[in-house]
Amino acid sequence: MPDLVTLTVDDVKVTVPAGTLVVDAAKAAGIEIPIFCSHPKLDPLGACRMCLVEFVGPRGSKLDTACTVRVSEGMTVRTSTEQVKAVREANLGFILINHPLDCPICDKGGECPLQDQTMAYGAGVSQFVEAKRQKQKHYPISDLILLDQERCILCWRCIRYLDEWEDKPQIGLFERGGETVIDTFPGQPVDAATSGNIIDICPVGALTNRVSRFRFRPWELKKTPSVCTLCPVGCNLRLDERVHELRRIVARENLAVNDEWLCDKGRFLHQYVDHPERLRTPLVRDAAGEALRPATWDEALHRVIEKLGDIADTNGANALGGIASARVSNEAAYLFQKFFRALVGANNIDFADGSAVKAQPTGLSAIADIAKSDLIVLVGFDPSEAAPVLDLHIKRAARRAGAKLLVINPRRIALAKYPGAYLPVLPGGEAWDLNGLATALQAARAANQAGSKPAPAPTGKAKLETKVAVMAELRPAYDLLAAAKAPLFIYGPDAARGQLGKLAVTALSNLAVALGFGDRLAYVGAEANSQGARDMGLLSDTLPGHQPVTDAAVRERLGKLWGVQPPAEPGQSYAAMAAGGVKALYVMGANPAATVAGAEALHKLDFLVVQDLFLTETAQLADVVLPATSFAEADGTYTNLERRVQRGPQGIKPAGESQADWAILAALAEKWLASQTVDTGEVSKAIEQPDWKKKRRKIKAGPAPKPWNYPTAQAVLDEIGKAVPPYASLRWDALGEAGVQWSTSALVRAPRRVEPVDVAPIAAAPAGSFTLVSGPLLWDNGPLMPYGAEQVRKLTPTPFVALNPADLTMAALAEGRQVTVTSAYGNVTLTLKADASVQPGTAWVPANLAGAPAETLGAVRGEPVSVAVKLV
């Protein structure tokens, strides 16, 4: 079969790849064939019959569906003959007879394919006067979606989406013939993590968005193409705004990233943007014990630089630190680290899972590579909860492309049900297993290579045998790895924190290198811009562009750009700063006070600045609170897990006086610079005296920082291009609407070296107690969840601990009871659940539940934690 096929559609010759459907070939020829059931991302169905066209053959022409027939050489298709028009009219007539005329109150009205096609291809007059059939109208099929059976035209798109992409056939066809309806089984609502996509692909208003229902008419919306900032996939989406409110989010096609899908969190969790509790003005606390009071930006910023300046003057630059989140834009992350490095003169900057995690700098080679892999190794990473659209791609690879999955995780995550192997590990125990696998694979490889030569070295052989003997339980994993032709390795923060995590990552890297796929190893962080934050150098030990702070050449290069060089000494980590390693802390978008212990540590600070959207637990302790904008309210770029730098333009007016994170930092820097007098060895210049408080900083010797001049986010991105070599070409305009992956060639080489790993197995928790396992939950109580719509908030579970059913039985505990869970770090009261995905001997407490129970118990410390579970 030739790779390309030429056919004629309405006298237009078009050449397309063999196997293309006629409907797509026509589109390539610029000819639109109307469709309802057909969808480019779903298997052909041929149910609606709208796309019937004439195929002209030697024995006359025949009608067939363009959505099911694949092209063949020399094919001739006619799409607008009288016969074809008559068929379209007839089909539309059949549909409309039984479709309610409630367009005026239908959310789809105005962007409805049925309306559009009726206008384009319909008869224009109604022939039928009889009563329409009555079916069940607008009732919930989940917390997020309503179904109107009268509007449904049975195109099966929702059914096929949930089956073909989600592998969760939760909507089915019930009954038969004219009685056929789509529905869910009673008591089993749709709970797929990307269920909202069925709203986008519904060609009528049968499926509607409960969060956005009746909040817009499509033609009134201002639509801004943007990206999601809730997880590192960076799905492309569209912000639909009306009268300064974010009314709706819908998916936007980017075939390289999210096809045209969006997860439910990305789609439905947007009401926080317009939430009444958003911070609208800066707040200051005049003295300890007093309440925060509104202030002007000028006063608040002066308060910040005055206090930071005082503390730096008294205690040195290293008494100041900054904790950011990796949710913020590249521009914010870059200016944050620059503020500390170039102005304060300290490397005390970090984010949660920042310097504590040994991350590969390069991210995933490409999301598209998932489909090309025959083995996907997931270590401490649960895409179903952490990155649902990545989960879709992986499931698709497993079901359609025959990829095997090797899941290494303390919990039997949902993806472990696909062909491959599940290797249970204790938290922190990943390194032991990975090292065993790596060593055995290296040895096998060495033995193979030696096979062509004379006898292999006896020591090597002996080593192989001992390792293989040790590995009985690793055997399925070993066999999968040994057979893999195109493996892909992805690990997440849960396997990579702390010292044990560093060993695990080294062992995993060794494993990938031993198989010859060191370039197919990726780290996926928890927060949306984890990759960008690392690229920007939002780390205590790493400069922009993934260079260590100890690299003098890089410091010199940055010094030329900034006017001053960053300090050579690595700064304090997140944990060190949050535990009181500094006297003044600047927190941007993070919430270290979520736990009681975290809050206690912050109490000891001399000065705390918090820049955020809401008055978080941390902001409540702050001396100055600065209101920041959300991703939807300011321009910014974000770098996803495959190093794709994407634009997130402003789509809505900022709430109150809130300002973009980067703009707050720029304004702060301007005032900081103004208050400093620097002896440059030339002319001393004091540009401005703070007029509200005459106070002069001591004269500093050395080069002067260059002035900060960023009128726009794009100006910050321009400077990022100079500071971060791989970003050199990534200007705002160049990114376009689909983003651009930064090239690894300018930066780093894939690991090629095998580093020895010295590791011991992790001991199980002592009898009667459990090893604490934590990890992400899609519907957690993360920073923005409490401010979502009611339907969204309902999805967050009551804080719970789950045990294996066998453990529950053995401990004579009953599901639903309240239990006290105690570790060396604290204790919490939780609801007890049974969950077979939780391995015996472990206790599962998801991260970021209300009250931060997992964090309180010490789950993110990167070391095994044993807990006791007792009835209250």
Partner: protein, 414 residues
Amino acid sequence: MTTWQPVLLANVNRPNSEKITTYLAHGGYEALRKTLKMSPDQVIAEVKASGLRGRGGAGFPTGAKWGFIPKDAPVKYLAVNTDEGEPGTFKDRLIVERDPHAILEGVIIASYAVGAHRAFVYIRGEFFLGVKRWIKAIADAYQYGFLGKNILESGFDLDVSLHRGAGAYICGEETAMIESLEGKRGEPRLKPPYPAQAGIWGQPTVVQNCETLVNIPHIIGRGAAWFASIGTEQSRGPKIFCVSGHVNRPGNYELPLGTPLREIIYEHAGGVRMGRSVKAVIPGGASTPFLTADKLDVPMAFETLAAAGSALGTGAVVVMDETTDMVEVARRVMSFYVHESCGRCVPCRLGGHNMLHELDIIASGQGKRANLARLEALTRGIPGITFCPLGTGMCEPVASGLKLFRSEFEERVS
């Protein structure tokens, strides 16, 4: 009058006809013994030479169908369609209940020919007795060594399982039947791929109507030449005609293809009740267009019925006398198809519903000319645009009713 010694129905009236011993006592499974000494290709060649065409309705040449099965496919299946449900048709039920081994012998021979080691019998759910008879027949065939491993020491293995439908006419469509066999809703599949390429669980599958298979042992046993000598140019062999309606002796009649319709009605089925005259005949089951009394001399064969504007279909002859209300007949047939539409495609699901709606109004006497016009438009608009032939077939009786008995429709509307 054609004198024909029944072959296909030779056993059905014998006492204990369903028993394997009865079947064996009358030459049963001899054709199988003969088959197992032939090569599969020889069997296919014999069936091709016989000119046998499928008896399920579409009339596809059986030997050609077997030839489509890829020789090198590692797994191949045979499926037997005994999901008889077309109104007017009652032949399969008779064979399954009275002579299941006649089908089973055909199943084994056909499986041997195409290289299938697994056959699936799909039976209409309502055939309670047939289900029992099939189970017993299959069990006995295993006991006698006609099924299982190394059948009659030939080295050929075949397992047969029975799958009971549950009330869905559409499962007579071969791909819908396959879906149902797999435990799903009986909705037709997109073709291609055809079952010969990817049928049950994606494996090449031959689907045959049970009457077709009953012919196979006779073709092998008596030879293709014998079979080909019966019938007409394009319609070879004997056929079971199910005669019902206004005749004196309704029933199944096995006759050579090409037997004139008049002979079937008047000589075999005893003529029209009370000596009335024929108004209309459905010659091949409810989806075939009506024939009027002037067409009674048509030979009952694929090509001749097509020329007469109808079709042989399943060979189910429904006779209607001069008193028959044709509007009601059309409405009743329509209501059957609307009930049996799977609901997948728009024109069948919604168009069919609309047609029935118009027919209901017209039959009730409340209709206007506009209803008739709309009905007529629908019968022209739906055929050819539906997903499977059911939607097209549902229009035929109404369309031909409107064409041939227009005045009866017009009298009902104002």
